[in-house]
Each structure stands twice: as C-alpha cells, then as structure tokens.
C-alpha cells in the first residue's frame, strides 16, 4: 500500500469521528500553544532586560560596598553595615584613571519633599554633575547639578518631571525653593523623562549634591559608585585599574564588589533563560497528557473497529499495513494538534504582545517553535504505538467474528 493511500484511509477514518478527532487535536494544540506562549513570554522578558540594560549604556561599571563571595546578584550588599564603606574620597580617587571617562558617587535615601504646602515622599539621590553624563539624562528645564567640589553641600536640587508637576503644577519650578527633610534647596533644573528602566521612573527622582545627601541622611558611606569607561573596549582595563586603586585605598581588603553591566546582564539572562526553560518544561508535560489522550482515543478506535481490522486482514493486509494505518492516524492527530497549536501560539503571542507593549514584539524562540510541534508529533506516534500494535496483533478470525 502506498503511503498516500495509507494517509487517505487514515484521514477518512479520522473524519468519520469528527468530534473525537477535533477534541484530541484540541488537547494537543493546547499543549503546543502553551509551550509557545510561555517561551514567548520568557523570551520577551529576556529581550526586555537586555534592552533596558542597553539603554543604560554598556560601558558602565558599578562599585558596591561589601564583597559577594558568590557570583550573582549582590545589589543589596549596599545595606550591609559590617564592611568598610565606600567613601567620597574613594570615588574621587577613581576620577583621574586613564580608562575612566566619568565617575558618579551615589547616596540614596527617601525623604519628604515640600513646596508651597504640598508634600511628596520621594527618592532622593545624592550625586554629582557627572551622574548626568553617565546616565545620558537630558534636561527639560534649567541645568543639572553644578560641577565642582564634591564635598561642598550646595543647596541646589534637580527634580524629576513627575515630582516637579506634583509640587508646582504647570507653574515654573526652576528657581523656586523646596524643603527636603529639614533642609532647603533651590530647584536648578528639571529632568526630561526617559520613561521607565526596570520599572524605575526617573520622574520620581530628586537629585541633590552628594555632600548634601550625606548630611541629609547622616550617612558617610556611598550606596555605590558608577564608573563610565571611555568605551566598551576599555571597560576591562577600567575595571582592573578601579580595583587596583580601591584595593590600595582599602589596605588590600577587597571589601567592595565590582560589577560590569555585562556581568549583570549575563546573570539576568541566565536566570531568565532557566525560568523560560522551566515553564516550557512544565508546559511540555501537557504534551505528554495529550499523548496519553491520543492513546486512549486510538485504543477506543481499535476496539470499535475490530471487524474492520479483521476484514482488512482477510483482504490481504499485512500486520505491518494495519500497524501503519493506525500509527498514521495517531501521527495525523498529533500533527494536526501541532499545527493548530503553533498557529494558536503565534496568534496568542501577538495578542499578548499587544497587551504588554513593554515586552512586544512577543514571539516564541525558534527552538521552541520547532521543538514543541516535533515533540507533539513524537509523543503522538509514541503513544499511538500501543493501540496500533494491538490492532496489528488481532487474530483475524476472531476479529471477523465480532460484529
């Protein structure tokens, strides 16, 4: 029997039980679509993180107080107090290094910012004029912090656009005075919005000179130091020289952590990839379930078609031909499910992308787009083997006697 005729007979018998066929195909399609959707989401999240990092610039170096003994995320070590803090002088010492373009020390705290009877709790960032260079921020109005002596606590501040609007409405804010905690500052500029990075909006920021922030929060140690290398090529040498200088200043104790953008990104990517793989695996379990369903449906089909199988044998079908016929049906069921699932998965990813514009464009990675349908068809054939073998093994005489 030619494979085309096998296909034709198999299709014919699947069409004869349309509801059963449709439901089986649906089960497989759901499994495939789930794999595609979940991997699309994971991939979208990963691409999102990569994009966000790229928007921060890829030649950045972060110096954090404290040392993480294990690789991985140690962003929170700035809160650990038992280590020797990073000081403003540490940061200043990095300024002259040849591979370093700019250094911005950062102190972070939260305080109430008041103006004209309106108060707002904001994140207050203490830094220097260099922060703007490092972060590529632009100004909506006025200017950024004045350059000059880092130790001078000038009473000037820069507002994020959201804070400025909340405090001053549409009125002109530059030149006005605000009270931050128990100190008074003059607004010198308003940041242009850059949107969100990692869900953090620069619109909510209030930026004051680093010395002012240290006084405001009564904190000597820096939250971190941002170091911009001249370019990506000099990042490695910048990292080496920063480490050397800080080691010398800290008398050989490596009580600080150097993170490059790349290392951070790699960590995030690793986590997100593992996560994507994990959810894809969970979704793939549903493919196995669909495979069991195919087995069930085909077992029922074999039981109901015993006389037909007997007849085929009487007409001269070999066991192999009977096996091929039923295997072909399982294959078609899973293939139909795979195709429908890929279509549904792509459509669903498109819809999801429309609902989550931050992650758009959402599409499943190529490996999932190939592996999910392949796995579906493989499972279908594997689970189809048992019913097909049962059909092929039927004794033709007994099969013919059953009506």
């Amino acid at each position: 029997m030619s494979w085309l005729d096998t296909l034709r007979l198999a299709l014919g018998s699947l069409r004869f039980t349309p509801v059963r066929t449709a439901l089986t195909v649906l089960a497989m399609a759901i499994g495939v679509a789930a794999v595609l959707l979940l991997t699309a989401l994971g991939e979208g999240a990963r691409a999102y993180v990569v994009r966000e990092f790229a928007s921060l610039g890829t030649h950045l170096l972060f110096v954090l107080p404290g040392h993480a003994h294990t690789r991985g995320l140690s962003l929170a070590t700035g809160l650990v107090s038992s280590v020797r803090p990073l000081t403003l002088d540490d940061a200043a010492a990095l300024k002259g290094l040849p591979a370093v373009a700019a250094v911005a020390p950062i102190v972070v705290g939260s305080a109430q910012v008041r103006a004209g009877g309106i108060g707002r709790d904001s994140v207050v960032l203490g830094s220097t004029a260099e922060l703007r260079t490092v972060r590529h921020w632009r100004m909506q109005r006025g200017r950024f912090l004045d350059p000059g002596d880092w130790h001078r606590a000038r009473a000037q501040c820069v507002l994020g656009p959201t804070v400025a609007r909340a405090l001053f409405g549409n009125a002109r804010a530059v030149g006005k005075r605000v009270r931050i905690g128990d100190r008074r500052f003059r607004v010198v500029g308003i940041l242009a919005s850059v949107g969100r990075t990692f869900g953090f909006d620069n619109g909510e920021l209030v930026i004051v000179p680093v010395a002012a922030a240290q006084a405001l929060f009564d904190r000597e140690g820096l939250f971190r130091i941002l170091v911009a290398a001249r370019n990506e090529a000099t990042l490695a040498s910048a990292r080496r020289s920063v480490r050397r200088v800080l080691l010398r200043r800290h008398r050989g104790h490596e009580d600080f952590t150097l993170l490059t953008q790349g290392a951070l990104l790699a960590t995030f990517e690793r986590i997100l990839r593992a996560l994507t793989l994990a959810v894809a695996t969970i979704a793939a379990v549903s493919l196995g379930v669909a495979g069991v369903l195919i087995m069930n449906v085909q077992l029922i089909g074999v039981a109901r078609r015993v006389p037909e199988i007997g007849l085929l044998r009487a007409l001269g079908a070999t066991r192999g031909q009977v096996l091929g016929l039923f295997l072909c049906e399982s294959g078609l069921l899973s293939l139909g499910g795979a195709l429908a699932g890929v279509a549904a998965g792509m459509l669903g990813a498109g819809l999801l992308g429309a609902m989550l514009p931050a992650l758009a464009p959402l599409h499943a990675p190529a490996w999932a787009g190939l592996a999910a349908p392949a796995l579906a068809v493989g499972t279908g054939l594997l689970f189809g083997l048992l019913p097909a073998r049962r059909a092929a093994a039927l004794d033709p005489v007994r099969a013919l006697e059953r009506r």
Binding site: L312, R313, A314, L315, G316, L400
Partner: protein, 226 residues
C-alpha cells in the same frame, strides 16, 4: 490447487478440547464449485478460515499450489490472501465510512495499485455486479442484496482464483439470496474455484460437489461428483 492432509484444529473450551476440524483430508482442483453443509458449530467456518489462510492448522498440512503454508510468514500469507483468494461474508463486512467504490477499491489499495488503474477496475467491477449507479453510496444507503454485491465485487478485485463464501445468503431474503448465488455461480463460470459454506440444503445442492461437516469431520456427500 488445494490439498489438506490430516488437518486438525483444536479449541480449548473451558478445560475441554474441542475439535473444530478433526483429521480433515481434502483436495480441491482449479475451477471446482463445491458446497460445504452442516449444522452450525460443525466446523464449516473454521474450514473456510483455514482455506482462506486466516487460520492455521494445529495438526496436518495445508498445501496451496503445492507449497506448505505453515512455512509462510505473515507477509507471504497476506499476499496470497490478497491476490489469490476472495472472501464473501454472511454479514458483508463493508467498511461503513467508505462508499461502494471505496470498499471495492480496498484490495487494490492494499496491493499498491496506482489510482487511475484502480478507478477503471472499480468501475468495471461495479458494472459487473449491476451497481454502476451506486458507486458513491455508502453501505447504509444500500439494501442487503446490494451490499453483498459490493462485497462480491470487492472479492473479485484482484481477480482471485479461489472465492470463499461463508453463508453469503444467510442474511438476505430468498429473492436476493438467489440473485447473489446466481452472481457467485457466474463467477465460477469464469473458471474460478468457489467454495460455498451454507446450512441451506437447497442452495448447497446447486453445487456439483457437496461436502458435509459433522463435529469437525468432513464427508463427501453421496451423489456428489468427484
């Protein structure tokens, strides 16, 4: 063409062993028309299944064209069934989802014929049994007699030399039964061998050679022509 030598077929029913066939000896020459009669349970169908290579003897030898069928594997047996043997059953055994043409086409499909050749042959076969205008009908749209005609057309699809009919009229009214038998006898007139299993003596006596089965044993009927 066919030679059975001391063939027995045993079944275990509970802890009793039943001889469905008990030391059967039979020689069938090409072109013969013979009927097998006997009460139900006497082993008629078992004999037919055995002749049709659907079953194997427990003892004795079955030679088909001089070849011992015990030595043939599934693929060889399937090919012999396909090309040399045609079955007609009491309950027609048509595939319900296939049209008359589709049912007649099956043996040719299994034998790997190309589509155009199949189409032409199906048309000729359906014409021969008088159902050219029913080719697209599904079995449930056909009368019993028409269904059996489709089954006969199917049995003749690969031009077999041996046709085995198991109570082919058993499920039909008398008129349709006679029509079917006429058709089968016309088949034999084309030089084929016909083995007709029936419990109806009137039909059985139309065959020139008549066999009787009782409790698994085979007897040539008196008056039968050798």
């Amino acid at each position: 063409m066919i030679r059975l030598e001391h063939v027995s077929r045993l079944y275990a029913v509970g802890d009793q062993v039943v001889h469905a066939l008990d030391d059967v000896n039979l020689v069938i020459e090409p072109g013969e028309y013979l009927s097998v009669m006997g009460p139900s349970g006497s082993g008629k169908s078992t004999l037919l299944h055995l002749l049709g290579l659907l079953d194997r003897p427990d003892r004795g030898r079955y030679l088909f064209h001089g070849e011992d069928t015990a030595r043939l594997d599934d693929r060889h047996l399937a090919r012999l069934r396909r090309r040399h043997i045609g079955f007609v059953f009491q309950f027609f055994h048509l595939v319900p989802r296939l049209s008359a043409a589709g049912n007649v086409e099956l043996p040719m499909m299994l034998d790997g014929w190309p589509l155009p050749r199949r189409r032409a042959r199906v048309r000729r076969l359906l014409e021969a049994v008088g159902l050219a205008d029913r080719a697209r009908h599904r079995p449930d749209q056909l009368s019993g007699g028409q269904r059996q005609r489709v089954a006969i057309a199917r049995a003749l699809a690969l031009d077999p030399e041996l046709v085995l009919a198991d109570e082919p009229t058993g499920n039909l009214d008398q008129a349709a039964g006679h029509e079917i038998l006429d058709l089968l006898e016309a088949v034999v007139a084309q030089g084929r061998t016909l083995v007709l299993v029936t419990h109806d003596p009137e039909l059985g006596h139309r065959a020139p050679r008549r066999l009787q089965m009782r409790d698994g044993r085979l007897f040539e009927s008196p008056g039968g022509v050798g």
